[in-house]
């Protein structure tokens, strides 16, 4: 791997990070309403707490000074205090992030498997019924709001048939005899949200898999393989599929960065105790420090995932030029 390529991509990620931090800073300082300052000036706030907020955010100082203070506190891992919970934001997000990762991994697995299988089938039967069906399905899935899909699944499977719990990650107030019983309960709660979120994102994977495989299938080496007498099925699966997976790998890496933000709708519908639901609850409570922190963490994940995707792509596809 070329070190210059790596450094260049690292530099790009760094610039993006600065942009994100700056946008995040201005979003919560100079926007109309100036939320954090508004809270600091709020009448029913104890003078000591207001003093503390002023000290923390430096509202009485100039903007550049506030910006410098903000960067300094970020570097030291200080994301501020939650208005609602009166706890450090970083701890609150830390408590929630595992639930989101668990849900997102399950949902991504569902979506990726579905995308690869259906996308491959569609490309292999280009222009025929399977292809048209798969394309139509992918577009249809794209048009469905993710939260609505969740609602419909809950109303059918949980309410009508009663096979799955309506919401949450575990049964409320239940004591578990063994760890295994606990795990089983979590899995039981996990299944429906995973399918719901997985279905909501599988359309994109299907489309990319299909078009990527169609591209590869027009290449000369595929014609050669066919001319040599390999079966069509073998050519698609053994010769074309590995190369067609390249764009998929990049898209998967990028999507993993977006998964925390993407889980928001599903988490809201299922009351899944993750970061997405935290964002929703914090908006209702106007808990701006938590929102700001969550937004920053979500953006970090996307930047890191993009960086990994770039590196992975450069590594997997030697045709990419390392300028």
């Amino acid at each position: 791997m070329n070190i210059n390529y790596l450094l260049k991509k690292l530099f790009h990620s760094f610039i993006t990070l600065i942009i994100v931090i700056t946008i995040n800073f201005f979003l919560f300082r100079v926007m109309p309403g100036d939320p954090t300052a508004m809270v600091a000036k709020s009448a029913n706030l104890s003078p000591e707490y207001a003093e503390k907020l002023n000290e923390m955010y430096g509202f009485d100082r100039s903007l550049p000074v506030q910006y410098a203070m903000y960067i300094k506190s970020l570097v030291t891992g200080d994301f501020g205090m939650s208005f609602k919970f009166r706890k450090p934001v970083i701890n609150i997000i830390g408590e929630r992030i595992m639930a989101t990762i668990l849900l997102a991994i399950c949902a991504q697995t569902v979506a990726i498997l579905f995308g690869i299988v259906v996308g491959t089938l569609a490309a292999a039967h280009r222009g025929r019924k399977i292809d048209v069906g798969a394309l139509g399905f992918a577009l249809f899935i794209y048009a469905i709001p993710a939260f609505w899909l969740g609602i419909v699944l809950v109303s059918f499977f949980s309410v009508k048939l009663g096979v799955f719990p309506v919401n949450g990650m575990v049964d409320a107030g239940r004591d578990y005899a063994t760890t295994w019983a606990y795990i089983k309960d979590v899995l039981h709660h996990l299944l429906l949200p995973s399918i719901s979120m997985g279905l909501a994102i599988c359309g994109g994977y299907t489309m990319i898999m299909r078009s990527s495989l169609l591209d590869v299938l027009t290449e000369d080496y595929i014609t050669t393989a066919r001319a040599k007498g390999y079966k069509r099925k073998d050519v698609v699966i053994k010769h074309a599929l590995p190369n067609a997976m390249l764009p998929m790998v990049t898209v998967i890496a990028i999507n993993i960065g977006f998964m925390i933000g993407g889980a928001l709708q599903t988490e809201t519908v299922f009351s899944w105790p993750g970061v997405g639901r935290l964002v929703y609850d914090s908006l209702e409570a106007r808990d701006y420090p938590v929102l700001q922190g969550a937004f920053l963490i979500i953006s970090f994940c996307v930047i890191i995932a993009n960086f990994i995707a770039d590196i992975l792509y450069g590594y997997l596809d030697p045709r990419i030029k390392y300028e």
Binding site: Y142, A143, I151, G262
Partner: protein, 292 residues
Amino acid sequence: MAEITKKNVKYQNIKRSIDTFMGNKMGVLGLCILVFFVIVAFIGPLVYDFDQQSYGKGELMAPPTNGFPLGTDDMGRDILGSLIYGAKISLMIGIFATLISVCIGTFIGISSGFAGGKTDIILMRFTDGFMVLPKLPLIMILAALLGSNIRNIIIVLGFTSWTGTARLVRSQTLSVKERQFVERAISSGAGKGYIMFKHILPNVFPLVFSNTILVTANAILTETTLSFLGLGDPLTPSWGQILRGAFVSGAVSLGAWWFFIPAGLCVILLVLGFTFLGYSFDEILNPKLRRR
């Protein structure tokens, strides 16, 4: 023999375009769906009796009956009436948000591609940085900070969805810029602004067009989600607002399907209409795709 006049050629071009479009089943289906919703949005309110719309006219969350073809919501309002009213809101938000988004995207894209050099690098870095921001959380925070009303939602949606258009316009500008007629215009002393808007814009626009329609689909979807999450305009009964009402009032646990199924289907159908149209335009305007 018909005389080959400028007007004649133009007419034939238009006729050929229409023929190509009519041959595209997906596009025709999309257009039909859109026409249906436009009729519902603008003729519906004239024909449909909105008296049922007021609070407490019907029973609370009652299933479909004679007076209420699609039942009532948790405040006893007629759901069909709300759906008809919501069509206009969704169309309006989608179209106006797209206008803002396309203007910003086209402006940044053309400036970036035409100026080149440092301007290009800075604008594209900025675009990339913006692209990376998690859309939904950003839109939610912006809507919450600005305050939820229709105008603000349109502005927020417009200002957060221009990145794709900007990249597309830039790459197209780069290729148009190299063509001879631009060179000729430069050598005959045309100003930069003149070339950008009189020569490059018309050549870039057809490719942007299909993208534009997809932006509209996305804006409608995002507005629904925003309203559902409680960040919509509480005074406007949009489809997302109906779905929020259903979610918050527990219609899901009560099995009141008429409260959330029709509204969801309307969103899906309208978004599909725009998506179909967008894809078919893409096929027609970008012939490279046609070979697939």
